[in-house]
């Protein structure tokens, strides 16, 4: 053993980054490694360790290597500025969630051994939250050993089988594929694929990407929910907490991960009605009105977009207004479209002027007006070609216009 180790450590020194950089690893790193070597309790009975962990996190063992922590959060309680009770009303405005039934919602969040992805990354904790009676029931599953994964995954199936919608934060890109990998490795069918998946990160980005410096869940808590966590363990430290437990039997940090994950789930539950309100009244919550209106348009909710855009003179939403106008025209509401184009043109939008010019040229055949509008387009070959064509069309009608007159 020792001979092989010596060979290895000697060889590794010559083959790369470390020798090249010429500096030994930081002391902290060396100490950490040393501690792994010394404090790791190889002789600890795994069931003792699991019991210690169960006690520290307030959970019960539901099988070898898996703990479940169940918490009931009354719906009448507040989470920041929002009452969880709002969850009982089906969303009316959030495009991805309109009319989904409250009792079919399954909120979902994982804690993993890293962000690297691949089959070596493990979800050591999976949390679900669902409405049960007048409470939000939070069920968190925590591995007390690697071997418990298969039992944990099977326990998760009970939750997915009674739900219709999975609700997550960045779950589409991260948690769901990771769980699919874990399920495939363990030969378990999770049933995630049968559920519609509402990932709240996307509507949050739609509404606030241009307003906030970032769209992390913590920002949503601070800026939209009005919720502040005390003494929270940052999510990035979760992997180390699990490794400290695995390598050394430390349970303290892992207990804080449980707390962190529970807060994530409750925030997720509060975020759904909050985002629904944001999509109904974006101005009120400081959201990007144009972006929200465009989201409604994409879902075919033209009237909602119209409500948001056709009322005030929000110049910043030029592209949204143009999208709305295009949508109105498609729906046959040409007057609605014209009203928008005219307003935008008044506000100085060259793109709207171009739409109007096309309209006057091809529909009304009012070449003078079209030529007038053409003058508002930016200098360039397009503008020149359009003006030329309009002049040509006017000739047979005996119309002569000097542009100066028009201005």
């Amino acid at each position: 053993m020792s001979q092989l180790r010596q060979r290895l450590s000697a060889l590794r020194q010559q083959s790369g980054a470390q020798a090249a950089a010429g500096v030994p690893p930081p002391i902290a790193e060396r100490i950490r490694r040393a501690r792994i070597g010394h404090k790791r309790p190889p002789d600890n009975d795994p069931s003792d360790l699991a019991a210690t962990l169960a006690q520290a996190v307030g959970g019960e063992a539901i099988g070898p290597g898996v703990l479940r922590i169940t918490t009931q959060v009354p719906l009448r309680s507040n989470h920041g500025d929002w009452c969880l009770h709002a969850l009982l009303h089906s969303p009316r405005s959030l495009p991805a969630a309109i009319d989904v039934a409250a009792n079919g919602l399954l909120f979902f969040d994982t804690e993993t051994t890293g962000l690297a992805g691949g089959s070596g990354t493990l979800a050591f904790m999976v949390g679900f939250a669902a409405i049960r009676g007048d409470c939000l029931r939070v069920d968190q599953y925590l591995l007390s050993s690697f071997a418990g994964e298969s039992a944990m995954l099977r326990a998760l199936c009970e939750h997915t089988s009674s739900a219709q919608h999975l609700v997550s934060f960045n779950g589409k890109c991260f948690d769901a594929p990771l769980m699919a990998t874990r399920a495939r490795l363990n030969g378990v069918t999770l049933g995630f694929d049968d559920l519609a998946h509402i990932d709240l990160l996307y509507p949050l980005r739609t509404a606030f990407a241009s307003r906030w410096p970032d769209c992390r869940l913590a920002s949503a808590e601070a800026r939209l929910l009005g919720f502040v966590r005390c003494d929270d363990l940052p999510g990035a430290e979760a992997p180390q907490a699990w490794f400290d437990y695995v390598h050394r039997g430390d349970v303290e940090a892992l207990a804080r991960v449980v707390e962190h994950n529970r807060w994530d789930l409750v925030s997720l539950a509060a975020l759904l009605p909050a985002l629904d309100r944001t999509f109904a009244e974006p101005h009120r919550y400081g959201a990007d009105v144009g972006a929200v209106a465009r989201a409604h348009l994409r879902r075919g909710q033209t009237h909602r977009a119209q409500q948001l855009l056709d009322t005030d003179g929000a110049w910043q939403s030029e592209s949204a207004c143009l999208a709305l106008a295009a949508s109105l025209r498609r729906d046959g509401d040409l007057d609605g479209a014209l009203r928008l184009w005219k307003r935008l043109t008044r506000q100085g939008s060259a793109r709207a002027a171009e739409y109007l010019a096309k309209y006057y040229e091809h529909v009304e055949r009012d070449y003078i007006r079209a030529l007038q509008l053409t003058q508002r387009l930016p200098e360039g070959p397009t503008r020149h070609a359009r003006a030329q064509r309009l002049r040509r069309k006017m000739k047979p009608q005996g119309i002569r216009v000097r542009v100066a007159q028009l201005d």
Partner: protein, 806 residues
């Protein structure tokens, strides 16, 4: 596939001779340079051996072949079909352009049509993958087979990857991508692995040395993942000519492999000339440079309208030759370039452009390193000139094979340099023309490499007690990794327990890690113009170095070692630079020794420190030394295995009047032994290093700027040998990879042959005092030493022999 084409009957050659420009060139060269041509070989044109298409071949597939003009198969293609269909792993080792592709495409396409079976194709480079998919697409189009073949590599866009994984029937990739992108994400490929029937490994001969040892471990991982998904694919491997294709294939995939080596494909007449540059200084045995002869032959060929390829040994020589030929053919900048360089380190886009231009016949002469040895499709060329012996017989044939068409004659010229191996080969043409190509060696259980892949494999799937992976004790490796904090043992399983993605920190191409990028800062811009691997950086990218790209010189202004960057600027220098290398060794442990009195030959582990203290500036054309520069780089250290020959203090004092003379003898002997050792062990010379020193690391010997042996202390200062504290020099031949690739043990086995053949090489050399072909270059002033360096080397070798025989 041009199977339908037949070579012409022999009687027609008479009138071809009148017009065929290659034959004319051969005749003219022989007439004009008869003395320089030491050997000639003519391989007659060969007719194809054809068989019918297999009866069970899917009708759509036969239709596709017919549309592409293939009505019959070559014998070796049919044999491959039968063995593969029979479930055997096969390796096909037939010459370049013999239709190897069809050997694997047919069974793969058949299985895809019959059972929706999937196949994975692995090529060593991305360029080859792209060629392959283009070929498959054409076959597919020919009869609407409906087979989907996709490349999957670093260039595959993120949104296309899912389609490749789930819809691809044939996925074409490379070992690096399999290692970093596919295996660590195997669950996403579950469907693919469940139905994986065939794995195709083309260019097998490139999987040797470090790279091959890594890839063998990637194959272990691949088979482990396949087992998890319940599949057991058949491997179809293709190789250029090497001595041991079946052995290499079996080591690579660790299973029985049957070899197919007889080609049924036709080829045109081939001429091969062995060319020795003329002696220009008989006393010193100095010959004209290979470079001058290569450019001369290339000029003649290109002027006669023959498409030519030149192979050089180093990137530097590629640039020098390119410059000389561009000076002749590309002196008008308004015209498109007729001459181009092709080598590793150029950006992929530039290389692709050169390949396209070659295929389209827009380039008349390309100068390349081994980078063009591989099966990159560059169309057919007429003449191949090798500037120096490539170091192995296999590589020589492979490079010569780049010239050669199905129906027309082609010419290959091997121009010898003054290196001993080259001289040995051109002086003994019968040796080269009759020799078997080399054995390709890999050492999949090299400890560092194995450890890297145990980490990667543990990430992919937990290890179970009792599982096998490589030949070292797996449990010990797993325990070591647990101590490193990346694994955790729980019950009978070992789980990955770290927040990292181990494959990202393992490069298959080297033992060391981290490529350097070369950044051009001319005109204030910052453009990446090249990439250089870690191990060649100290010799090529030191501050002050002239680094050449397409024969344009760039000067290295700053080397950021930690950031892996070199900043260069265009320059107009009329010189190039060559680094000086000081290597000292310390013996750590003897594994074995053959001893006689105080003299020994031993095998053991050594600690090696390489310092690059400076560089020489060498002027173009005259090749005179126009200055020196200092290099300030960290020392490169490694542990490796070595063989050494050492003489006792007393034996030396008896045989040599002065220590200077003894030192020159050792340096000369080491030079000859190094080259003979490369030949004996069938390794490439750069895989083996040589050094002369005391084995304690207190001093080492080098050839100084004036051609004389010098003694230098550990910190590089010159010492007087007469005052050295303990003067007991040894010749070291070491394995040039950290940890060793298993080259030293075979050298130790052949220690007697190495010394005897080195003595013969020196004794039989025609020079008087020594020359680059035997004991290394000596200078005119050496006559004034009062002794012959050649004789000194012979004395040292004689003493070694005496001890070997007792």
């Amino acid at each position: 596939m041009e199977n339908s084409l037949m070579s012409r009957p022999a009687e027609q050659w008479a009138d071809v001779e009148q017009v065929d420009p290659v034959r004319r060139l051969v005749i003219d060269l022989k007439a004009k340079y008869a003395k320089r041509i030491t050997g000639e070989l003519i391989l007659p044109a060969r007719a194809p051996a054809l068989t019918n298409l297999p009866e069970e071949l899917n009708p759509k597939l036969s239709e596709a072949l017919r549309v592409r003009g293939v009505h019959q198969l070559y014998a070796h293609q049919r044999l491959a079909w039968e063995r593969v269909r029979n479930g055997e792993h096969v390796v096909i080792a037939t010459p370049t352009a013999s239709g190897k592709t069809l050997c694997y495409n047919l069974p793969v396409l058949q299985a895809a049509l019959e059972h929706q079976a999937k196949a994975l194709y692995l090529f060593p480079t991305k360029a080859l993958s792209q060629d392959q998919v283009a070929e498959l697409t054409e076959l597919n189009k020919a009869a609407e087979l409906g087979i989907r073949a996709f490349t999957f590599d670093g260039d595959t866009p993120g949104d296309a990857r899912k389609a490749v994984r789930t819809r691809g029937d044939i996925v074409v990739s490379n070992p690096d991508m399999l290692h970093q992108g596919i295996l660590p994400h195997h669950t996403k490929w579950a469907q693919f692995f469940e139905n994986l029937r065939y794995v195709v490994v083309d260019e097998l001969h490139t999987y040797r040395g470090v790279f091959g040892s890594h890839v063998a471990n990637v194959m272990r991982r691949l088979r482990r993942v396949c087992t998890f998904y319940g599949s057991d694919p058949v491997f179809i491997l293709c190789s250029a000519t090497i001595a041991n294709p079946a052995e290499l294939a079996e080591r690579l995939i660790e299973a029985k492999v049957s070899a197919i080596t007889d080609s049924g494909a036709p080829h045109g007449e081939r001429h091969l000339l062995l060319w020795n540059p003329p002696v220009i200084n008989p006393d010193l045995g100095i010959r004209a440079s290979a470079r001058s002869q290569t450019t001369r032959i290339a000029r003649t060929a290109v002027k006669r309208g023959l498409k030519s390829i030149l192979f050089a040994q180093t990137r530097l020589m590629v640039e020098v030759l390119t410059k000389y030929l561009k000076d002749v053919f590309d002196n008008d900048p308004r015209r498109p370039a007729r001459v181009r360089a092709y080598r590793g380190g150029y950006l992929p886009t530039e290389r692709r452009e050169t390949e396209r231009a070659l295929r389209a016949g827009r380039i008349d002469c390309v100068i390349a390193t081994s980078a063009l040895e591989l099966g990159v499709d560059i169309g057919a060329l007429d003449v191949a000139v090798l500037n120096g012996y490539p170091g192995t017989i296999a590589a020589t044939w492979q490079r010569l094979g780049r010239a050669g068409r199905r129906q027309r004659p082609s010419l290959g010229v091997l121009v010898a340099s003054s290196q001993p191996l080259d001289q040995y080969i051109v002086r003994n043409p019968e040796f080269f023309l009759g020799a078997s190509p080399e054995h390709a060696r890999i050492d999949p259980d090299q400890l560092l490499i194995l450890l890297d892949h145990v980490r990667c494999a543990a990430f992919e799937l937990p290890f179970d007690d009792g599982e096998r992976f490589g030949k070292e004790n797996l449990t010990e490796l797993l325990q070591y990794l647990q101590e490193q904090g990346v694994l955790h043992q729980e019950g009978k399983r070992w789980y990955w327990s770290a927040d990292s993605y181990p494959a990202n920190s393992v490069s298959l191409r080297s033992v060391a890690e981290g490529n350097f990028v070369v950044i051009d800062t001319t005109d204030g811009a910052k453009t990446v113009v090249a990439e250089v691997d870690y191990s060649s950086v100290p010799m090529t990218l030191y501050e002050g170095a002239i680094y050449m790209i397409q024969a344009s010189p760039y000067q290295v202004e700053k080397l950021d070692w930690a950031g892996r960057k070199a900043f260069v600027r265009r320059t107009r220098a009329d010189y190039y630079t060559d680094a000086i290398d000081y290597t000292r060794l310390k013996i750590l442990e003897r594994f074995d020794r053959a001893e006689c009195g105080n003299q020994e030959t031993a095998l053991g582990e050594v600690h090696l420190v390489r310092r690059i203290p400076g560089y020489k500036k060498i002027r173009y054309y005259t090749h005179e030394n126009v200055g020196y520069g200092n290099i300030n780089l960290p020392d490169q250290e490694m542990h490796t295995s070595a063989v050494w020959w050492r003489l006792a203090h007393e034996a030396l004092a008896e045989s040599f009047p002065s220590r200077h003379e003894a030192l020159d003898g050792f340096l000369g002997a080491a030079y000859a032994m190094h080259h003979v050792a490369a030949l004996c062990s069938m390794a490439e010379p750069q895989d083996i290093g040589r050094a002369v020193g005391d084995g304690e690391g207190t001093w080492f010997a080098t050839v100084g700027p004036h051609g004389r042996g010098q003694l230098r202390s550990a910190n590089g200062e010159e010492m007087d040998p007469e005052h050295a504290p303990r003067f007991q020099p040894a010749v070291f031949l070491y394995d040039n990879y950290p940890g060793g690739m298993g080259l030293a043990a075979p050298l130790y086995e052949q220690r007697a042959d190495i010394v005897r053949d080195a003595a013969r090489l020196v004794r039989d050399c025609g020079c008087r005092y020594g020359c680059p072909a035997c004991v290394g270059p000596i200078l005119a002033s050496d006559e004034q030493r009062g002794y012959s360096p050649k004789q000194a080397a012979l004395s040292v070798l004689g003493l070694f022999i005496r001890h070997e025989s007792t």
